[in-house]
């Protein structure tokens, strides 16, 4: 489906205009972590311009219930209209499922600077970074060393709760500088 989509974009669009509008959509900021662009997050799936000038945008949600998804769609629409698009249609696509592995290197650097420990390498479904997830031994378990404190850089840190201030983050605390911090879950 994605392949067909890209193909038709090439056929019907002035490439310069498409590149310009794609860059506008890609630079929209995440409302929850307003240092990351949609490109940094890797959730902008495709941009296409119709014969009638309608700009079609495909986004993928980070979590199915993430409340930011609707806000992001509205922000993309507003940004494209402000950039001169006549009509904008934003749709959400679930497949293939988003993974934190799509967060760019630049995005990971920005996360650390913002005070959030960036996600490690994603492990296959059914395994979790630590604890009892692999209890029955039927699925691979990836062991994570420790999250690195984004403030002091220490790895003497402790997971407080696997669920944090937003669906995508876990709650950690640093035992060196004693500050709490968010860690992006690898999914």
């Amino acid at each position: 489906m994605i392949a067909t989509f890209a193909q038709s974009a090439v056929q019907t669009t002035d490439p310069t205009e498409l590149t310009r509008l794609r860059a506008v959509a890609a630079s929209v900021l995440d409302p929850e972590i307003p240092v990351l662009t949609l490109d940094d997050l890797g959730i902008l799936r495709a941009v296409r311009i119709d014969d009638d000038g309608t700009v079609h945008v495909r986004l993928t949600p980070t979590y199915t219930g993430c409340p930011a998804t609707a806000v992001i769609a509205a922000d993309v629409q507003a940004a494209l209209l402000a950039a001169g698009a006549e009509r904008v249609e934003v749709r959400t696509v679930l497949s293939p499922a988003w993974t934190t592995d799509w967060i760019s290197a630049d995005g990971r650097r920005k996360l650390t600077e913002y005070g959030i420990d960036p996600p490690g390498q994603c492990s296959p479904p059914g395994s979790l970074p630590a604890g009892r997830a692999g209890l029955s031994g039927r699925r691979p378990v990836v062991l994570t060393l420790s999250a690195r404190c984004p403030r002091c850089g220490s790895t003497r840190t402790r997971e407080v709760s696997r669920f944090g201030s937003t669906p995508c983050k876990a709650h950690w605390t640093c035992q060196s500088c004693l500050e709490p911090f968010d860690s992006f879950k690898a999914i």
């Binding site: 489906m1 495909r58 949600p61 979590y63 199915t64 219930g65 993430c66 409340p67 998804t69 609707a70 769609a73 749709r91 959400t92 696509v93 679930l94 497949s95 293939p96 499922a97 988003w98 479904p125 059914g126 395994s127 979790l128 604890g131 009892r132 997830a133 209890l135 029955s136 039927r138 407080v160 709760s161 696997r162 669920f163 944090g164 201030s165 669906p167 709650h171 879950k185 999914i187």
Partner: protein
């Protein structure tokens, strides 16, 4: 709930398949919706603030799954009903959730027993749906299985901690399992969904096939937690046909009142 379009292939299949798929999607969507509502009741009441946040996060994941499933059910049904119509304007007998998700929260032990049971079931369910011929279902499953992995692990850690904690925590965790177990077999009972499973080969997952893997996982957790698998003397049945316990009748007014009192209200 806001309007959000979810891409899915046009579905013009024959009416038997459409009806069966609508019913199947309602069953899965209602399970997620009703449990999200129940878990939301813990907010401001959980034993620790971290648990408040964890249970709300889990409820949010389930609500996201419910929204996708109910939106898609409305599209497949083809009668113009959206996720809000399906969540807020159906009556008790129209809900297709299993009775497990509607039982009252009880104490933290009952809620964790229900969480372990249901998250382990959903994990196997979504794993099975990864290879569904229906692209929307397979797409949702790929997303949801990652979320549910966290839910299952969360419940596992609590069951282990409470089971091997103090004598009182052990007693209450066992009591939670005892209260929950009469509702477990309904998860895997395919008698009430036999017709729709027959109409949806390659699309739906027969819940009976999920039981061995579920049983192995939950059995290991209970063994390590020094808890005993209960032997209930009765079993629930009929949620998928719209037969519910008294609990759902009390839950629905909380869920639906605002929308029914103020039709079309938005934030």
């Amino acid at each position: 709930m806001s309007v959000e379009s979810i891409e899915n292939p046009a579905r013009t299949g024959d009416s038997v398949i459409r009806t069966a798929l609508t019913s199947y999607l309602l069953g899965l969507g209602d399970d997620a919706l009703i449990l999200a509502q129940r878990l939301g009741e813990w907010v401001t009441r959980a034993p620790q603030i971290e648990e408040d946040i964890a249970l709300a996060n889990i409820a949010l994941d389930l609500l996201g799954q419910a929204r996708t499933l109910l939106t898609y059910a409305g599209e497949v049904e083809g009668e113009g009903r959206d996720e809000d119509d399906l969540a807020y304007l159906r009556d008790e007998r129209d809900f297709r959730n299993v009775q497990l998700v509607e039982i009252e929260n009880g104490d933290f032990g009952v809620t964790m027993a229900r969480q372990l049971t249901f998250a382990a079931y959903q994990f196997e369910l979504y794993t099975g749906l990864l290879t569904s011929d229906d692209h929307t279902l397979a797409g949702l499953a790929a997303k949801a299985v990652k979320e549910v992995t966290y839910h299952r692990d969360h419940a596992t850690q609590w069951v282990l901690r409470l089971g091997t904690g103090t004598a009182e925590s052990h007693r209450r965790m066992q009591a939670g399992l005892d209260a929950t177990w009469p509702y477990v077999e309904e998860l895997f009972d395919n008698r009430d969904v036999a017709d729709l499973l027959a109409a949806l080969p390659g699309i739906a997952v027969d819940p009976a096939t999920l039981r061995p893997a579920w049983s192995a996982y939950v059995g290991d957790v209970l063994d390590e937690a020094t808890l005993v698998r209960p032997q209930p003397r009765w079993r629930s049945r009929g949620g998928r046909r719209g037969y519910h316990s008294e609990n759902l009748g009390h839950l629905l007014p909380d869920l639906q009142n605002l929308h029914r009192s103020h039709p079309g209200a938005t934030w």
